[in-house]
Amino acid sequence: MPATKLVKGVLKGNRRDLARLITLIENEHSSAATALSMLYKHTGNAHIVGVTGPPGSGKSTLVTRITAKYRKRSKTIGIVCVDPSSPFTGGALLGDRIRMQEHSLDKDVYVRSMSTRGHLGGLARATSDAVRVMDAFGKDIVIVETVGAGQSEVQVVEVAHTVIVVDVPGAGDDIQAIKAGIMEIADIFVVNKADYPGADKKVTEINAMLDLDSRERSWRPPVLVTNALTGDGIPELVDMIGKHMSYLQETGLLKQKGLQRSRDELEQIMEYKLTKELFTRLRGTPEYEQAIKKIAGRNDDPYSVAERLIAEFLTSVRG
């Protein structure tokens, strides 16, 4: 079924159409882009919250708790859980849903598990589009949960309005300290598992790192302590998420971010389309293969060949 046929259902709140449209986007179905362009004007209403942190920091439980709190406030929720795909087989085990059972029969909570399908940066290529579809569907809050253990997994900041970085008190070597890169993307820090020894120490450590940050900022990321098992600290966290949104609105940062994001996105799409178009034309043609052989044989160099091929491409387009 073409994606465009699902648009109506998504706008009407049909969960199954929502789920299928996300699949078509993930599968890069030829009609997906059209469907997304049809939905675009219905987006921009959801508050998108990113939750990231090292494995074992209790992100899923935290997301479950936040969701429960929002549900009490009658907000509708969309959740995207991203897990890495196996670099060898492309397969993936998507196991976060297991932690979110208490919402499993709530029709106003939509949970979607996604594999990165080889994409680097901590998110799947389709994540931002899936978030957008949930936004158009009418979800008030869309939460993106992703493993973030290092500097290469910070893409969540491009999708979310508010990024929560979760960590746990140190208890041995298996829990990684928050990496510097991930520190910089946080709008809110959460030290989860308050019952573990060393929670206070962790808070102090994070605050010390924040003090080292010399940038001028009107929002200093607060450091909250939660216990996702008991629910302690969750109301404060949900309030803080709301406060951050108000801050973005009041300071005009939300608009500014929106502009920047639109620019980035437009440029990304153009870049993707252009290169795709270029390569579709080139790959497999005898001239192209010949040129590559020449480069390999040192009879030509990649720099001038690239110049020449792009010039030819542009001429033909102008044609």
Partner: protein
Amino acid sequence: MSSSKKIRVLVAKPGLDGHDRGAKIVARALRDAGMEVIYTGLRQTPEMIVEAAISEDVNVIGMSILSGAHNALFPKVIDLLKAEGVDNILVIGGGIIPQDDVPALKAAGIAEVFGPGTPLAEIVGYIESNVKL
């Protein structure tokens, strides 16, 4: 745009039994065969399984029961899928299922039942050749 489809599978444990050795092994094997596998965890009601299958838009539901509750629970999942108008999901089952129960389960809509000792490649192969993408 080219299409890059992946087989998505929900591996589910309906009922109350806690024996998930088989379910977890199958989940890993499907992952290693390049599929995307969502594991539900223990104690899923048929309603929870169907809701997860729809939300995750899976192509396959694989259920495992070792307690003997398969005759009550497997067909219920099929009924709920039908009630939701879902007809494109391949539903398979496994566990300790007496041979005598298999015909009735198949008649109810369980595509195949895999008993103890089934090689993993057989399950993978079955899904690959019967899934509707």
